[in-house]
Protein backbone atom coordinates (compact mmCIF):
# COMPACT_ATOMS: atom_id res chain seq x y z
CA UNK A 1 0.00 0.00 0.00
CA UNK A 2 1.42 3.44 -0.84
CA UNK A 3 2.54 5.47 2.14
CA UNK A 4 -0.26 8.00 1.60
CA UNK A 5 -2.88 5.24 1.79
CA UNK A 6 -1.44 4.02 5.07
CA UNK A 7 -1.88 7.51 6.51
CA UNK A 8 -5.39 7.86 5.11
CA UNK A 9 -6.29 4.48 6.58
CA UNK A 10 -5.08 5.63 10.01
CA UNK A 11 -7.23 8.72 9.73
CA UNK A 12 -10.25 6.68 8.75
CA UNK A 13 -9.70 4.20 11.58
CA UNK A 14 -9.48 7.00 14.11
CA UNK A 15 -12.70 8.52 12.85
CA UNK A 16 -14.48 5.15 13.01
CA UNK A 17 -13.34 4.72 16.61
CA UNK A 18 -14.84 8.09 17.43
CA UNK A 19 -17.99 7.05 15.61
CA UNK A 20 -18.27 3.96 17.87
CA UNK A 21 -17.87 6.06 20.97
CA UNK A 22 -20.53 8.54 19.89
CA UNK A 23 -22.89 5.72 18.99
CA UNK A 24 -22.38 4.31 22.46
CA UNK A 25 -23.16 7.74 23.92
CA UNK A 26 -26.40 7.91 21.96
CA UNK A 27 -27.46 4.39 22.97
CA UNK A 28 -26.69 5.14 26.58
CA UNK A 29 -28.73 8.33 26.35
CA UNK A 30 -31.71 6.28 25.26
CA UNK A 31 -31.24 3.92 28.20
CA UNK A 32 -30.83 6.80 30.63
CA UNK A 33 -34.06 8.35 29.36
CA UNK A 34 -36.11 5.16 29.47
CA UNK A 35 -34.86 4.08 32.89
CA UNK A 36 -34.51 7.61 34.26
CA UNK A 37 -31.06 6.38 35.21
CA UNK A 38 -29.28 9.36 36.73
CA UNK A 39 -26.02 7.58 37.25
CA UNK A 40 -25.85 6.49 33.62
CA UNK A 41 -26.75 10.02 32.57
CA UNK A 42 -23.87 11.33 34.65
CA UNK A 43 -21.47 8.88 33.01
CA UNK A 44 -22.53 10.07 29.58
CA UNK A 45 -21.90 13.67 30.55
CA UNK A 46 -18.47 12.77 31.83
CA UNK A 47 -17.61 10.67 28.79
CA UNK A 48 -18.21 13.59 26.44
CA UNK A 49 -14.67 14.69 27.25
CA UNK A 50 -13.42 11.58 25.49
CA UNK A 51 -15.38 12.59 22.40
CA UNK A 52 -13.79 16.01 22.51
CA UNK A 53 -10.35 14.46 22.75
CA UNK A 54 -11.04 12.50 19.57
CA UNK A 55 -12.13 15.71 17.90
CA UNK A 56 -8.88 17.48 18.76
CA UNK A 57 -6.78 14.48 17.80
CA UNK A 58 -8.44 14.04 14.41
CA UNK A 59 -8.17 17.74 13.65
CA UNK A 60 -4.47 17.55 14.32
CA UNK A 61 -4.06 14.43 12.18
CA UNK A 62 -5.78 16.20 9.27
CA UNK A 63 -3.61 19.26 9.71
CA UNK A 64 -0.47 17.14 9.58
CA UNK A 65 -1.76 15.27 6.59
CA UNK A 66 -2.33 18.52 4.68
CA UNK A 67 1.10 19.81 5.57
CA UNK A 68 3.00 16.65 4.76
CA UNK A 69 1.10 15.17 1.83
CA UNK A 70 -0.52 18.20 0.16
CA UNK A 71 -3.35 15.97 -1.01
CA UNK A 72 -5.27 16.54 -4.23
CA UNK A 73 -8.36 15.12 -5.90
CA UNK A 74 -10.00 12.19 -4.09
CA UNK A 75 -7.41 12.36 -1.29
CA UNK A 76 -8.12 16.03 -0.75
CA UNK A 77 -11.86 15.47 -0.70
CA UNK A 78 -11.39 12.58 1.71
CA UNK A 79 -9.48 14.68 4.24
CA UNK A 80 -11.92 17.56 3.89
CA UNK A 81 -14.76 15.11 4.49
CA UNK A 82 -13.00 13.66 7.54
CA UNK A 83 -12.58 17.16 8.97
CA UNK A 84 -16.25 17.96 8.56
CA UNK A 85 -17.51 14.56 9.68
CA UNK A 86 -15.29 14.93 12.73
CA UNK A 87 -16.94 18.25 13.56
CA UNK A 88 -20.39 16.69 13.13
CA UNK A 89 -19.52 13.69 15.30
CA UNK A 90 -18.34 16.05 17.98
CA UNK A 91 -21.69 17.85 17.81
CA UNK A 92 -23.64 14.61 17.94
CA UNK A 93 -21.56 13.83 21.03
CA UNK A 94 -22.71 17.15 22.49
CA UNK A 95 -26.30 16.29 21.60
CA UNK A 96 -26.00 12.96 23.42
CA UNK A 97 -24.65 14.83 26.39
CA UNK A 98 -27.61 17.20 26.20
CA UNK A 99 -30.01 14.27 26.14
CA UNK A 100 -28.30 12.90 29.23
CA UNK A 101 -28.81 16.23 30.98
CA UNK A 102 -32.55 16.10 30.32
CA UNK A 103 -32.69 12.41 31.33
CA UNK A 104 -31.04 13.44 34.58
CA UNK A 105 -33.96 15.74 35.29
CA UNK A 106 -36.48 12.89 35.15
CA UNK A 107 -37.79 11.83 38.58
CA UNK A 108 -38.83 8.40 37.36
CA UNK A 109 -39.42 6.42 34.16
CA UNK A 110 -41.38 8.35 31.54
CA UNK A 111 -45.06 7.46 31.57
CA UNK A 112 -46.12 4.96 28.91
CA UNK A 113 -48.85 7.07 27.26
CA UNK A 114 -46.42 9.95 26.76
CA UNK A 115 -43.88 7.61 25.16
CA UNK A 116 -46.58 6.10 22.97
CA UNK A 117 -48.10 9.36 21.80
CA UNK A 118 -44.89 11.20 21.02
CA UNK A 119 -43.24 8.18 19.31
CA UNK A 120 -40.00 9.29 20.94
CA UNK A 121 -38.68 5.73 21.28
CA UNK A 122 -39.03 4.65 17.63
CA UNK A 123 -37.74 8.07 16.64
CA UNK A 124 -34.71 7.66 18.85
CA UNK A 125 -34.11 4.14 17.56
CA UNK A 126 -34.31 5.30 13.96
CA UNK A 127 -31.84 8.10 14.64
CA UNK A 128 -29.37 5.65 16.17
CA UNK A 129 -29.90 3.22 13.27
CA UNK A 130 -29.29 6.03 10.77
CA UNK A 131 -26.16 6.97 12.63
CA UNK A 132 -24.93 3.38 12.45
CA UNK A 133 -25.78 3.04 8.74
CA UNK A 134 -23.99 6.28 8.08
CA UNK A 135 -20.90 4.74 9.61
CA UNK A 136 -21.24 1.81 7.22
CA UNK A 137 -21.63 4.22 4.29
CA UNK A 138 -18.41 5.95 5.28
CA UNK A 139 -16.53 2.77 5.97
CA UNK A 140 -17.49 1.13 2.69
CA UNK A 141 -17.41 4.32 0.60
CA UNK A 142 -21.05 3.92 -0.31
CA UNK A 143 -22.69 7.13 -1.55
CA UNK A 144 -25.89 5.24 -2.44
CA UNK A 145 -26.42 4.23 1.17
CA UNK A 146 -25.55 7.79 2.21
CA UNK A 147 -28.28 9.12 -0.05
CA UNK A 148 -30.94 6.90 1.59
CA UNK A 149 -30.13 8.55 4.93
CA UNK A 150 -31.05 11.96 3.65
CA UNK A 151 -34.48 10.58 2.82
CA UNK A 152 -34.87 8.76 6.12
CA UNK A 153 -34.28 11.98 8.01
CA UNK A 154 -37.67 13.21 6.80
CA UNK A 155 -39.49 10.70 8.99
CA UNK A 156 -37.73 12.11 12.04
CA UNK A 157 -38.68 15.63 11.04
CA UNK A 158 -42.29 14.57 10.77
CA UNK A 159 -42.40 13.16 14.30
CA UNK A 160 -40.65 16.26 15.55
CA UNK A 161 -43.14 18.62 13.92
CA UNK A 162 -46.08 16.86 15.55
CA UNK A 163 -44.48 16.64 18.98
CA UNK A 164 -45.25 20.22 20.08
CA UNK A 165 -48.99 19.77 19.78
CA UNK A 166 -48.99 16.31 21.31
CA UNK A 167 -46.96 17.35 24.33
CA UNK A 168 -49.04 20.50 24.88
CA UNK A 169 -52.17 18.42 24.94
CA UNK A 170 -50.57 15.90 27.30
CA UNK A 171 -49.52 18.67 29.67
CA UNK A 172 -53.02 20.13 29.71
CA UNK A 173 -54.42 16.74 30.64
CA UNK A 174 -51.64 15.83 33.09
CA UNK A 175 -50.59 19.03 34.82
CA UNK A 176 -48.66 17.05 37.42
CA UNK A 177 -46.36 15.72 34.68
CA UNK A 178 -45.34 18.99 33.08
CA UNK A 179 -41.65 18.77 33.85
CA UNK A 180 -41.49 15.17 32.59
CA UNK A 181 -43.29 16.21 29.40
CA UNK A 182 -40.95 19.12 28.87
CA UNK A 183 -37.93 16.84 29.26
CA UNK A 184 -39.32 14.46 26.65
CA UNK A 185 -40.03 17.34 24.29
CA UNK A 186 -36.46 18.58 24.70
CA UNK A 187 -35.11 15.11 24.00
CA UNK A 188 -37.23 14.91 20.83
CA UNK A 189 -35.68 18.17 19.71
CA UNK A 190 -32.22 16.78 20.36
CA UNK A 191 -32.97 13.60 18.44
CA UNK A 192 -34.19 15.69 15.53
CA UNK A 193 -30.79 17.44 15.59
CA UNK A 194 -29.06 14.07 15.43
CA UNK A 195 -31.02 13.36 12.24
CA UNK A 196 -29.81 16.64 10.74
CA UNK A 197 -26.24 15.96 11.74
CA UNK A 198 -26.36 12.48 10.22
CA UNK A 199 -27.66 14.13 7.05
CA UNK A 200 -24.69 16.51 7.07
CA UNK A 201 -22.32 13.60 7.37
CA UNK A 202 -24.10 11.73 4.57
CA UNK A 203 -23.64 14.79 2.34
CA UNK A 204 -19.94 14.83 3.09
CA UNK A 205 -19.66 11.17 2.11
CA UNK A 206 -21.37 11.89 -1.20
CA UNK A 207 -19.08 14.86 -1.82
CA UNK A 208 -16.02 12.80 -1.07
CA UNK A 209 -17.01 9.90 -3.29
CA UNK A 210 -18.68 11.69 -6.16
CA UNK A 211 -17.20 15.19 -6.01
CA UNK A 212 -20.75 16.50 -5.93
CA UNK A 213 -21.96 19.14 -3.56
CA UNK A 214 -25.34 18.07 -2.19
CA UNK A 215 -25.42 20.57 0.61
CA UNK A 216 -27.90 23.43 0.41
CA UNK A 217 -29.69 21.84 -2.52
CA UNK A 218 -32.87 21.69 -0.56
CA UNK A 219 -32.77 25.47 -0.09
CA UNK A 220 -32.60 26.05 -3.82
CA UNK A 221 -35.57 23.81 -4.44
CA UNK A 222 -37.60 25.61 -1.82
CA UNK A 223 -36.86 28.97 -3.41
CA UNK A 224 -38.09 27.68 -6.75
CA UNK A 225 -41.51 26.46 -5.62
Amino acid sequence: MPHIDVELEKLKTKLLEMWDLVEYQLQSGREAMLQADQELAQQIIKRDRKVNQFDVKIDRMCENFFALFTPVAVDLRMVLAVLKINANLERIGDTAEGIARFAKKLDGPVSEPLLEMTKVVPMYEEAVAMFADCRVAFKTNDPVLAKTLIKRDRALDKIYRKSDGIVTKFMAENPEKISEALAVLSIIKKVERVGDQVTNIAEEIIFYREAKVVKHRQDKKKKKD
Binding site: P2, I4, T70, V72, A73, A211
Partner: protein, 254 residues
Protein backbone atom coordinates in the same frame (compact mmCIF):
# COMPACT_ATOMS: atom_id res chain seq x y z
CA UNK B 1 -17.61 40.64 -20.06
CA UNK B 2 -14.09 39.24 -20.10
CA UNK B 3 -13.78 38.18 -23.67
CA UNK B 4 -11.68 35.08 -23.99
CA UNK B 5 -9.29 34.99 -26.90
CA UNK B 6 -7.58 31.83 -27.99
CA UNK B 7 -3.86 32.42 -28.28
CA UNK B 8 -2.49 28.99 -29.00
CA UNK B 9 -4.31 26.10 -30.51
CA UNK B 10 -3.60 22.57 -31.68
CA UNK B 11 -6.03 20.83 -33.98
CA UNK B 12 -5.87 17.10 -34.58
CA UNK B 13 -2.16 17.27 -34.02
CA UNK B 14 -0.09 14.15 -34.52
CA UNK B 15 3.67 14.10 -34.18
CA UNK B 16 6.19 11.41 -35.04
CA UNK B 17 9.86 10.74 -34.43
CA UNK B 18 10.40 8.45 -37.40
CA UNK B 19 8.02 5.55 -36.77
CA UNK B 20 7.37 6.54 -33.20
CA UNK B 21 3.98 8.17 -32.71
CA UNK B 22 4.80 10.72 -29.99
CA UNK B 23 1.65 12.89 -29.99
CA UNK B 24 -1.74 11.42 -30.77
CA UNK B 25 -4.54 13.52 -32.14
CA UNK B 26 -4.21 16.44 -29.75
CA UNK B 27 -6.89 19.12 -29.65
CA UNK B 28 -6.43 22.01 -27.27
CA UNK B 29 -7.09 25.75 -27.18
CA UNK B 30 -5.18 27.95 -24.76
CA UNK B 31 -6.42 31.37 -23.78
CA UNK B 32 -4.48 34.57 -24.10
CA UNK B 33 -2.79 35.85 -20.92
CA UNK B 34 -3.37 32.60 -19.17
CA UNK B 35 -0.96 30.13 -17.67
CA UNK B 36 -1.39 26.57 -18.85
CA UNK B 37 0.51 23.78 -17.13
CA UNK B 38 1.45 20.55 -18.91
CA UNK B 39 1.75 17.60 -16.60
CA UNK B 40 2.17 13.87 -17.11
CA UNK B 41 4.62 11.03 -16.59
CA UNK B 42 8.10 11.18 -18.07
CA UNK B 43 8.09 10.44 -21.77
CA UNK B 44 4.41 11.24 -22.31
CA UNK B 45 5.20 13.97 -24.84
CA UNK B 46 5.01 17.24 -22.87
CA UNK B 47 8.30 18.65 -24.14
CA UNK B 48 7.60 17.43 -27.66
CA UNK B 49 4.27 19.21 -27.63
CA UNK B 50 5.68 22.37 -26.06
CA UNK B 51 8.40 22.53 -28.69
CA UNK B 52 5.92 22.35 -31.55
CA UNK B 53 4.72 25.85 -30.59
CA UNK B 54 7.99 27.45 -31.62
CA UNK B 55 9.03 24.73 -34.08
CA UNK B 56 11.98 23.70 -31.97
CA UNK B 57 11.49 20.14 -33.20
CA UNK B 58 12.27 21.16 -36.77
CA UNK B 59 15.92 20.42 -36.12
CA UNK B 60 15.28 16.81 -35.18
CA UNK B 61 15.84 14.27 -37.95
CA UNK B 62 12.76 12.27 -38.79
CA UNK B 63 10.41 14.49 -36.82
CA UNK B 64 7.17 15.38 -38.54
CA UNK B 65 3.70 16.59 -37.63
CA UNK B 66 0.21 16.27 -39.03
CA UNK B 67 -2.62 18.62 -38.16
CA UNK B 68 -2.42 22.27 -37.24
CA UNK B 69 -0.74 24.45 -34.68
CA UNK B 70 -2.22 27.91 -34.60
CA UNK B 71 -0.84 31.07 -33.05
CA UNK B 72 -3.41 33.86 -33.04
CA UNK B 73 -5.36 31.74 -35.48
CA UNK B 74 -2.44 31.44 -37.94
CA UNK B 75 -0.92 28.12 -38.87
CA UNK B 76 2.70 28.30 -37.73
CA UNK B 77 3.73 25.45 -39.99
CA UNK B 78 2.43 27.28 -43.09
CA UNK B 79 5.00 27.81 -45.86
CA UNK B 80 5.10 31.57 -45.54
CA UNK B 81 5.92 31.52 -41.83
CA UNK B 82 9.50 32.50 -41.04
CA UNK B 83 10.81 30.57 -38.09
CA UNK B 84 12.92 33.46 -36.81
CA UNK B 85 9.86 35.70 -36.81
CA UNK B 86 7.90 33.00 -35.01
CA UNK B 87 10.53 32.73 -32.29
CA UNK B 88 10.27 36.47 -31.67
CA UNK B 89 6.64 35.87 -30.80
CA UNK B 90 7.17 32.64 -28.92
CA UNK B 91 10.02 32.67 -26.43
CA UNK B 92 11.34 29.65 -24.60
CA UNK B 93 12.97 28.91 -21.26
CA UNK B 94 14.55 25.53 -20.63
CA UNK B 95 14.84 23.22 -17.67
CA UNK B 96 18.52 23.86 -17.13
CA UNK B 97 19.53 27.51 -17.15
CA UNK B 98 21.64 27.94 -20.28
CA UNK B 99 23.32 31.34 -20.14
CA UNK B 100 25.92 31.98 -22.82
CA UNK B 101 29.53 32.39 -21.66
CA UNK B 102 29.22 36.15 -22.00
CA UNK B 103 28.46 39.07 -19.75
CA UNK B 104 25.08 39.42 -18.09
CA UNK B 105 24.33 42.36 -20.34
CA UNK B 106 25.23 40.51 -23.54
CA UNK B 107 23.10 37.56 -22.50
CA UNK B 108 20.00 39.70 -22.09
CA UNK B 109 20.40 41.63 -25.33
CA UNK B 110 21.49 38.60 -27.34
CA UNK B 111 18.23 38.31 -29.27
CA UNK B 112 18.14 42.02 -30.00
CA UNK B 113 21.69 41.97 -31.37
CA UNK B 114 20.69 39.13 -33.68
CA UNK B 115 17.85 41.30 -34.87
CA UNK B 116 20.48 43.88 -35.81
CA UNK B 117 19.84 46.41 -33.08
CA UNK B 118 23.10 48.21 -32.34
CA UNK B 119 22.21 51.42 -30.48
CA UNK B 120 23.63 51.19 -26.99
CA UNK B 121 20.86 53.25 -25.42
CA UNK B 122 18.15 51.02 -26.89
CA UNK B 123 19.94 47.88 -25.76
CA UNK B 124 20.53 49.23 -22.26
CA UNK B 125 16.95 50.23 -21.87
CA UNK B 126 15.72 46.84 -23.05
CA UNK B 127 18.16 45.04 -20.75
CA UNK B 128 17.01 46.97 -17.70
CA UNK B 129 13.35 46.52 -18.54
CA UNK B 130 13.71 42.76 -19.05
CA UNK B 131 15.80 42.28 -15.94
CA UNK B 132 13.29 44.21 -13.89
CA UNK B 133 10.50 42.04 -15.22
CA UNK B 134 12.37 38.88 -14.43
CA UNK B 135 12.98 40.20 -10.91
CA UNK B 136 16.76 40.09 -11.31
CA UNK B 137 17.62 43.76 -11.83
CA UNK B 138 18.36 44.64 -8.24
CA UNK B 139 20.74 41.73 -7.91
CA UNK B 140 22.77 42.38 -11.07
CA UNK B 141 22.50 46.07 -11.91
CA UNK B 142 25.99 46.79 -10.57
CA UNK B 143 27.70 43.93 -12.37
CA UNK B 144 26.20 43.93 -15.80
CA UNK B 145 29.58 43.32 -17.46
CA UNK B 146 30.42 40.34 -15.25
CA UNK B 147 30.13 36.83 -16.62
CA UNK B 148 26.64 35.32 -16.50
CA UNK B 149 28.23 32.03 -15.49
CA UNK B 150 29.14 33.54 -12.12
CA UNK B 151 25.47 33.82 -11.18
CA UNK B 152 23.70 31.24 -9.03
CA UNK B 153 21.40 28.69 -10.66
CA UNK B 154 18.28 30.58 -9.68
CA UNK B 155 19.73 33.85 -10.91
CA UNK B 156 20.80 32.20 -14.17
CA UNK B 157 17.29 30.96 -14.72
CA UNK B 158 15.86 34.42 -14.18
CA UNK B 159 18.53 35.73 -16.56
CA UNK B 160 17.33 33.27 -19.19
CA UNK B 161 13.79 34.48 -18.61
CA UNK B 162 15.01 38.07 -19.07
CA UNK B 163 16.73 37.01 -22.28
CA UNK B 164 13.50 35.48 -23.52
CA UNK B 165 11.51 38.59 -22.53
CA UNK B 166 13.94 41.02 -24.17
CA UNK B 167 12.70 40.20 -27.65
CA UNK B 168 9.13 41.01 -26.53
CA UNK B 169 7.39 37.76 -27.28
CA UNK B 170 3.70 37.33 -26.58
CA UNK B 171 4.05 33.67 -25.63
CA UNK B 172 6.50 32.19 -23.17
CA UNK B 173 7.15 28.45 -23.20
CA UNK B 174 8.82 27.07 -20.10
CA UNK B 175 10.04 23.51 -19.85
CA UNK B 176 10.44 22.67 -16.16
CA UNK B 177 11.93 26.09 -15.45
CA UNK B 178 12.29 25.56 -11.73
CA UNK B 179 13.10 21.88 -11.45
CA UNK B 180 16.75 22.51 -10.63
CA UNK B 181 16.11 25.32 -8.17
CA UNK B 182 15.80 25.55 -4.39
CA UNK B 183 12.45 26.55 -2.84
CA UNK B 184 13.32 30.26 -2.63
CA UNK B 185 14.41 30.55 -6.25
CA UNK B 186 11.41 28.45 -7.21
CA UNK B 187 9.13 30.83 -5.34
CA UNK B 188 10.71 33.74 -7.20
CA UNK B 189 10.13 32.09 -10.57
CA UNK B 190 6.55 31.30 -9.60
CA UNK B 191 5.95 34.89 -8.48
CA UNK B 192 7.38 35.98 -11.77
CA UNK B 193 5.07 33.73 -13.76
CA UNK B 194 2.18 35.15 -11.81
CA UNK B 195 3.29 38.70 -12.70
CA UNK B 196 4.05 37.91 -16.30
CA UNK B 197 0.67 36.49 -17.11
CA UNK B 198 -0.74 39.99 -17.19
CA UNK B 199 1.14 40.44 -20.44
CA UNK B 200 2.07 37.01 -21.71
CA UNK B 201 0.49 33.73 -22.55
CA UNK B 202 2.52 31.16 -20.66
CA UNK B 203 2.82 27.42 -21.06
CA UNK B 204 4.80 25.62 -18.42
CA UNK B 205 5.82 21.99 -18.20
CA UNK B 206 6.21 20.85 -14.64
CA UNK B 207 6.60 17.67 -12.66
CA UNK B 208 5.66 19.48 -9.50
CA UNK B 209 1.92 19.14 -8.91
CA UNK B 210 1.86 21.86 -6.29
CA UNK B 211 3.62 24.18 -8.68
CA UNK B 212 1.03 23.50 -11.35
CA UNK B 213 -1.61 24.24 -8.74
CA UNK B 214 0.02 27.46 -7.65
CA UNK B 215 0.83 29.05 -10.98
CA UNK B 216 -1.55 27.81 -13.64
CA UNK B 217 -5.10 28.66 -14.65
CA UNK B 218 -5.55 25.55 -16.73
CA UNK B 219 -3.84 22.20 -16.62
CA UNK B 220 -3.40 19.63 -19.34
CA UNK B 221 -2.63 16.04 -18.39
CA UNK B 222 -0.81 13.95 -21.00
CA UNK B 223 -0.38 10.23 -20.98
CA UNK B 224 1.44 8.16 -23.61
CA UNK B 225 1.15 10.86 -26.24
CA UNK B 226 -2.51 11.57 -25.58
CA UNK B 227 -4.11 14.59 -24.03
CA UNK B 228 -6.23 12.86 -21.41
CA UNK B 229 -7.72 15.82 -19.63
CA UNK B 230 -7.65 19.56 -20.00
CA UNK B 231 -9.52 21.67 -17.50
CA UNK B 232 -9.32 24.48 -15.03
CA UNK B 233 -6.50 23.75 -12.62
CA UNK B 234 -8.92 24.05 -9.71
CA UNK B 235 -11.14 21.39 -11.20
CA UNK B 236 -8.28 19.10 -12.09
CA UNK B 237 -6.84 19.12 -8.59
CA UNK B 238 -10.11 18.74 -6.75
CA UNK B 239 -12.20 16.53 -9.00
CA UNK B 240 -10.44 15.17 -12.06
CA UNK B 241 -12.72 13.47 -14.53
CA UNK B 242 -10.45 10.70 -15.76
CA UNK B 243 -9.12 7.93 -13.56
CA UNK B 244 -5.68 8.14 -15.17
CA UNK B 245 -5.48 11.80 -14.16
CA UNK B 246 -6.55 10.99 -10.63
CA UNK B 247 -3.99 8.21 -10.31
CA UNK B 248 -1.23 10.43 -11.62
CA UNK B 249 -1.86 13.53 -9.56
CA UNK B 250 -2.38 11.56 -6.37
CA UNK B 251 0.88 9.71 -7.00
CA UNK B 252 -0.65 6.28 -7.50
CA UNK B 253 0.61 5.50 -10.96
CA UNK B 254 2.02 2.14 -11.91
Amino acid sequence: MNKKTTKLEAKELNAYYGDFHALKNINIAMEEKNVTAFIGPSGCGKSTFLRTFNRMNDYIDGFRTEGDILLDGRDIYAKDVRVDELRKEVGMVFQKPNPFPKSIFENVVYGLRIQGIKKKAVLEEAAEKSLRRSALWEEVKDKMDKSALALSGGQQQRLCIARALAISPSVLLMDEPASALDPLSTAKIEELIYELKNEYTIVIVTHNMQQAGRVSDHTAFFYMGELVEFSKTKTMFTSPQDNRTQNYITGRFG
